[in-house]
Symmetry: C2
Subunit: 325 residues, 2 copies
């Protein structure tokens, strides 16, 4: 069994020994750039941990793990265009540093490269289930992104469809990575499914927590400005929960704040947070998160493998779900 | 053996029985729209013809054939954004009718859908070679598009790299479709390779002819305005050949015309055509085309199959390469 740092080292070594082609440099340089922006390599690490629940020779799963990382970076490159995001991890996004044409085409070739890696990862017994899982997850990620785009211009988004959106946009890829690890290890189907749901549900819990931390995180530990979602008038789960459960007066007050600009950011954050607070929104959201988290861990327990084999995965997800920023 | 119309009917039936999902409609409607703009379904038909060189039960190859058509339409949707093209086949392009975000995301899901179709097409013996061929071709198509983008802002494009660009951007997919048909039929590797090169070389010849017809096509038969490339100052093979072979005076005259607008389109077309004519450019280009065409048919002849089995494919490519518009 590996530690997380040693898994990350394996992934880094694999990436370095499988570079993009040199030419056309205009196509591949943005791919290299995107991959070196300092992502945490969470998804490939999860795939390897899923593999290690069943088998030791984790190097066998590196090609599939890298496919998942390539796919994730493809989605970031295209999402950044759609969101007109100038920065990613403090650096210019690809469409800002180069242009939209480049970000479209380099993203496309990165997605194809993910499939190339996945094809190379396949053994006769595993290639079809690997592809089927990957195809389904990839389709769902696009569907989730479309829902997210749709929500921006809708005023009547419900909580169930918001949860469905984060499930498709981000959580199924977490579940998919774990399941693909199990498939590479030729684990029983039932166990692969349990790992999928473990990752999917934990992914939902993680995104719920993300909404909560953006407003209630510790400013010392939180990388971004606390209250950023409030200033951007984002329809987070906190907002939707308020509109669903608060008094008419508070709902209207929140909606009024969401129509205003950010001339006085501290005042706006404080006022909106006060509405959330007096309606117990943080507690309600924390309860929502806990529900998904607990269901997630039931699936991990149901996986037929020794407790010691599941320990690293358990600890990693627990840490992610307990972080304060 | 099928006729071309009966193959097209099979493809149409397959498409109708394999629709995109209904929701999110914002994601999938543009995919349906793109596919109904009246493409000729040339590439899937070629895949089926490649299959029929070796086997009769061509229905078995429909899933792979449709994957190729989906891929082609994905490239059109994204290329139209990059080219800022308002129309395709006389109808608004996806990014014009909807917006760029839609055209990016619907294109992405169409590419994933192509892989889904390809995965479903795979048998234990064929899935890996099918994917490997498709992955390579798809990567090369992106590389060709990047070269095309690069050429727009370069003044020193050589003929060999121009040929390489059209080879990657369009010809390898023609070859790839034929090869994938052969793979589906579990034909010997050598025959699959010969079909690949047949399609690739014929694809290059076709693109060379395309450049020629844009300036010298029969206005009665040519769908677009004859001379369109001249008016758009496109660096076609005719231009590159002139710059390579003509006198300094004619090269300079051509370059001067390419710096001008199209206030007097007839005059510009006539003047540029006169430069081409007095330098025998049409003959030189026709010779270039013939070279690739002849090499292509040598590869078709080398395929180990009865002449009657290759007849439909031979006729189809001959017709495409003899058209006057």
């Amino acid at each position: 069994m590996h530690t997380l740092p040693s898994l990350l080292e394996l992934i880094q070594g694999y990436a370095e020994s499988h570079p993009f082609p040199q030419t056309p440099s205009e196509l591949y340089e943005p791919c290299d750039y995107m991959l070196t922006l300092g992502g945490k390599r969470l998804r490939p690490a999860l795939l390897l941990m899923g593999y290690e629940v069943f088998r030791d020779d984790v190097e066998q799963a590196l090609t599939a793990a890298w496919a998942v990382e390539l796919f994730h970076n493809f989605t970031l490159m295209h999402d950044d265009i759609m969101d007109a995001a100038p920065l990613r991890r403090g650096q210019p996004t690809v469409h800002t540093r180069w242009n939209t044409t480049t970000a479209i085409l380099s993203g496309d070739v990165m997605l194809i490269r993910a499939y190339q890696s996945l094809t190379a990862a396949g053994r006769p017994n595993t290639v079809l289930p690997l592809l089927e899982t990957f195809n389904r997850v990839a389709t769902e990620v696009c569907e989730g992104q479309q829902m997210d785009v749709n929500f921006e211009t809708r005023s009547n988004v419900g909580i169930p469809e918001y949860i469905r959106m984060i499930e498709l946009k981000t959580a199924v890829l977490v579940g998919g990575a774990l399941k693909m690890g199990a498939i590479c290890a030729e684990a029983p189907d039932a166990d692969a499914e349990h790992l999928y749901h473990f990752g999917r549900l934990a992914g939902i819990a993680f995104q719920i927590q993300d909404d909560l931390l953006d407003t209630y995180g510790d400013p010392e530990k939180f990388g971004k400005q606390v209250g950023g979602d409030i200033l951007q008038n984002k329809k987070t789960l906190l907002v939707l929960k308020t509109l669903e459960t608060a008094s008419d007066a508070d709902s209207k007050a929140l909606q009024a704040w969401m129509q205003t600009g950010s001339e006085n950011p501290e005042q706006k954050i404080e006022a909106v947070r006060a509405i959330f607070d007096r309606n117990n929104i943080p507690e309600l959201i924390a309860f929502e998160k806990k529900k998904y988290q607990e269901e997630a861990f039931l699936h991990l327990e149901a996986v037929q493998a020794k407790q010691t084999r599941k320990e690293l995965l358990k600890k990693m997800i627990e840490n992610l779900l307990e972080r304060e920023s």
